[in-house]
Symmetry: C3
Subunit: 474 residues, 3 copies
């Protein structure tokens, strides 16, 4: 670690108050070498399956990172000029050096954002730069990054090792063939890179891919996925297939955390109407709600940990969506409600000790009002970390300050990076570790926990809770 | 006070910054000996009426405290193993020493929670322990607590004195006969322990006890509580009866703070339909809303202070409710709305200077958006302190930081412990006093109030505002 | 500046931690002399047009300031006793010295509020007092303020200069004749005092003045404002007239930020029904929503910056409204929703680089959930500063802590004082500057931005962002 760097200070993110800073640093040093557990994210499994060198700084660091290009876009820089691929065939820049320059010229826009902090970490810790990026050193940066990327030590599997990643979960659709994960067997990283079961395409009747996904589901499983029983069995079958590729968890990205507890007859009737196209938005919501409950029931059977990530208005910018497609920085959080929405599921399975449901939110008003009280009561519920826009120093501090008093530390599950930006993984975990140590140090100095407890909690928050929280429960 | 205790530090909860800590401590020392005013809570009046010794540590400290057992339950420990009484006749543990061990083994789960801080205070300040509870000293703890509890000095009335409690309000249903309060006369604590009028069972048509409560109301008052006028008169009668037993306040635990201002004809019609069982959920909400307005009207007649505690989804865990009944840690906050809901009541009585309505919330987003602006305008409105899940160091800090700028200090009413855990009362008030002093010290050091003002405000927040805020207004 | 004043400390509002305080002070000193840009507010243009002396302390500092009298009112002091003019002809106090005494006697009620801090600033920095106001020096204060006000140096235009105000925007109704602004030409402050176009009376069908305002609109523009095309052209005409009087911006005070994107036929039909009085609340909301979209379209044509200030329940206290009229401290914030509400407008114009829409909120839960993600994506959106109840030290800190990580600094537009209290303008800007410097200092000390960046950002937040953010975009 480079300790005397003017743009990546060794005491960054700790409180400035001297005693708090000293204790934060000591706590941090006690856990900074622990391996990374990354139990939820969106890296591309082909990177690890094929182990090819990354191409260049722009294609690796800018084009896939919607945190980065949404900020530039908000300041009037077009996505075309940033090389973002279009889906309507319109022109987009392909001169990657030119795009890198545009990024460097506008790097000041990121002041105070987590993207800046992650990017600086990558520049210093991964690529060894000693001066911050700006317009005048953009070429030097671009060339040096590209040189590094061309070497053996920067191949994806080498980086897994360099980053001290013990576990990295990717996320695949329920109808993915998992060919990349299959290819990992024998490479030495087959126990490091695992998949996660994400069935949204086959549980959301409003997905344009719903019917074709059900056809694919039938094809993959041999079940008749157009009957209610066959559909459920097909899902069971795919869950088992995912577990064979390392999956310990499922993930559900519904707009709301609505759950239902319908009778079997009601389910069959609703499913029929949906297959017949004879349904409205309320029916679709009911169906998604019932499917969360069904998925919880299957988790109880097979021990997979269930994650619920609700509350995003996807693709809010319709013209941009038509031109560039999904995941372009235009997913905007909306208010979320958990107490009424989860009640049917909780009444059915909430008291099961062998069920683990991890809840996330983009609506921070849920923390003290709903989520901490729910997780501080139901044995099946745990709280995921500060998510997405809240995966940031301030967001993490608000999370710890808000949930700890009611849910305690042990109803949380450590950190998730949730990223598709592979190189930022150590940076993101580093931010989380620093903020947790800062929080714990302040608790000690305010005599709210003992110093011994703080050291023990630092290890739990960094490693044990993530490791245990995402283990299969059966 | 034991000042050099490793698990109850004399500077706990103050800011770690040295000057802030010093001033916090000085402010705290100026008010720490003031008597406790506890104007709202749920202790059992029979304790003070009968003055029997408490039985043992488990029955006193664990079984009645849903803050404690909900956290253990959330981590997979069954309520049966914790000795929580069932209502369905199923088995529950009665080996209280065994339950105490289970608690001690899991005491680490409370790290960072207010329960831990309150419990440690009780262990140190009430029972004189010098080392934190853990699995290996569980027997020592259990025996020493039980020994203390068997002595004269630990009888309820002796503890009232030891705790320096000047006033303790319990809460009784409108149809309670107040026999325990009656028995207090002549015991020397008749002016210390008073009741509070809680009419929810007779104002909520959806309560299963509604009709039987109305019958009881008729029986107790001689009024025909099945006519609108008779019903209101019966309530007036009971309010007077409660005032005769010391009550200065009423309390209303509706799901929402909805209020109405119906004509008398509309009231009579609605009441008839309700008595006939011919009503839906909206009618019930309208009726509850009208009853808040009626109660405000009666407060204007008789000077009783009105408290509104909305926003809890009671008994969210239906299987647990069926087995164990109410108040088992499964009451979960939901979003609350005050501005539209209170408007009818405010339009009718909001400008009355002889009316005092104290508002509470479980939804902290109300603080800056709704509650502080309302209390900073209407002469009838005051803000209750941070409540329930927010009765915690962080919750209190958020409260002060959120409401003070718009409502000022003088539209608040000091601290409520709102507890059924008698021994925790001094601990809870101590936390509130420390946090208020911390807040005031920071205000001084940021030159936002003067040091003189801080000393004066510390006394107001600790004593005067509670004392005056809950005095009858006529 | 008076630096050793016991009630206006030179380090007020900075963190108490010594290093943070030192850096805050240094940053503040680097920007404290910058001119004031006040791009949004409600001062009376006749003050600058007529340049008459203000009359007395009470009429200048108390009667027009609803922040001040609402707090006194909330504590049981009647508005009549405070000299607030009635509209129903009922008596109100006119002994201004007596009112001043009442204010002085109750000055302690403002402890911890921004009003206290602004008022103290005015007392020290504008009038030169050295001891805080209290009951015993009330006469001294009253006389000295009145003496000052009678002098040449305290005339409105002299104060503009003394306060170092480079730009001051007032706000006028779309049908205002702007006579005061016209009168400014040749006075030397014609480029300092500008107007803002506020069309609410002519875009809100539920305004009691709607039809008469449309008649006035026709009269002023020669357009037939009772046809859809004529109505839009009349608005275009007025916007041009306002631009001729310096306006660079429009302002929209709708209850919600609902927007619509109707076809022209639908607009014509809705407009007809509204003119015929054949509409309900939903129609009115649709019309207001459509008008926000129309106004955005006109901003794209003429480059005027568009401000949206939603979320206030106006005149909540109906009896008070009947007696005293609007703006009497009874406007209460309600929950706001931006993501769904703005979607139609964003789909139509959100990607326009030559459109600038500045969003404000009274619901702080919007900051991280909705506003920062929206502004951190759409090129047309910028965030206004912490508004109204949140124009306070705590409110500003919450704002910066909440929005910066997702929106960055450069999607914000500096400070607005939004005040009708002319003398408080420097005080309010001073608070904003101090809080921003405090925030930046802490960012530096936590190594989240560099010290160089902090100095540059301090200048941007104080001056450049306000200056540029409110410049016409064409």
């Amino acid at each position: 670690m480079s300790d005397n760097n003017r743009f990546l200070h060794p005491d960054r993110l700790f409180s400035a108050e001297p005693k708090a800073r000293d204790l934060s640093r000591a706590l941090y040093q006690s856990i900074s070498d622990l391996p990374i557990i990354s139990p939820h994210g969106h890296t591309d499994p082909s990177w690890f399956a094929d182990n090819q060198n990354f191409k260049n700084a722009t294609e690796l660091l800018i084009i896939p990172d919607h945190y980065v290009f949404r900020m530039l876009y908000s300041q009037g820089i077009s996505l075309n000029d940033l090389g973002i691929p279009t889906i309507d065939g319109s022109y987009t820049e392909t001169d990657y050096r030119k795009i890198w320059h545009l990024f460097a010229q506008n790097y000041h826009l990121f002041a105070g954002t987590p993207s800046r902090m992650w990017m600086d970490y990558v520049f210093v810790e991964v690529f060894g730069f000693t001066a911050p990026l700006n317009a005048s050193n953009a070429d030097h940066y671009y060339d040096q990054i590209n040189q590094c990327l061309a070497t053996e030590g920067f191949k994806p599997r080498a980086l897994l090792k360099k980053f001290n990643i013990e576990l990295l979960a990717t996320t695949e659709s329920a109808i993915d063939d998992l060919r990349h994960h299959a290819k990992l067997k024998g490479t030495g990283v087959e126990n490091t890179v695992i998949t996660t079961f994400r069935p949204d395409d086959v549980t959301n009747p409003e997905s344009p891919k719903f019917i074709s996904s059900l056809e694919k589901l039938a094809e993959l499983t041999g079940e008749n996925s157009f009957t209610w029983d066959g559909y459920l069995n097909a899902l069971r079958n795919r869950r088992a297939f995912f577990r064979d590729h390392g999956a310990t968890a499922t993930d559900h990205g519904h707009a709301t955390p609505r759950t239902e507890d319908l009778t079997k007859a009601e389910c069959e009737q609703l499913f029929s109407r949906i297959l017949a196209g004879d349904f409205d938005a309320a029916d679709a919501e009911t169906f998604r709600g019932q499917m969360l409950t069904e998925m919880a029931g299957m988790s109880l059977e097979d021990g997979m940990v269930m994650q619920i990530h609700p509350g995003s208005f996807r693709n809010h910018n319709t013209p941009l969506f038509r031109q560039f497609g999904a995941d372009k920085g235009a997913d905007i959080p909306v208010r979320a409600e958990f107490v009424n929405n989860l009640q049917p599921l909780m009444a059915k399975y909430g008291n099961e000790k062998n069920l683990r449901i991890i809840l996330f939110t983009l609506d921070e008003s849920n923390y003290t009002r709903e989520l901490a009280p729910l997780a501080g009561h139901y044995p099946s519920l745990k709280l995921g970390p500060a998510w997405w826009f809240h995966d940031s120093p301030e967001g993490m501090l608000r999370y710890r300050h808000s949930v700890t008093e009611t849910a305690g530390f042990y109803n949380t599950v450590g950190f998730n990076d949730d990223t598709r930006a592979f190189l930022s993984i150590p940076a993101r975990h580093d931010v989380a570790r620093r903020i947790d140590c800062r929080f714990l140090a302040n608790m000690v100095l305010e005599h709210r926990i003992s110093e011994d407890d703080a050291y023990s909690l630092a290890k739990d928050l960094t490693y044990n809770l993530a490791k245990n929280g995402y283990q299969k429960t059966l």
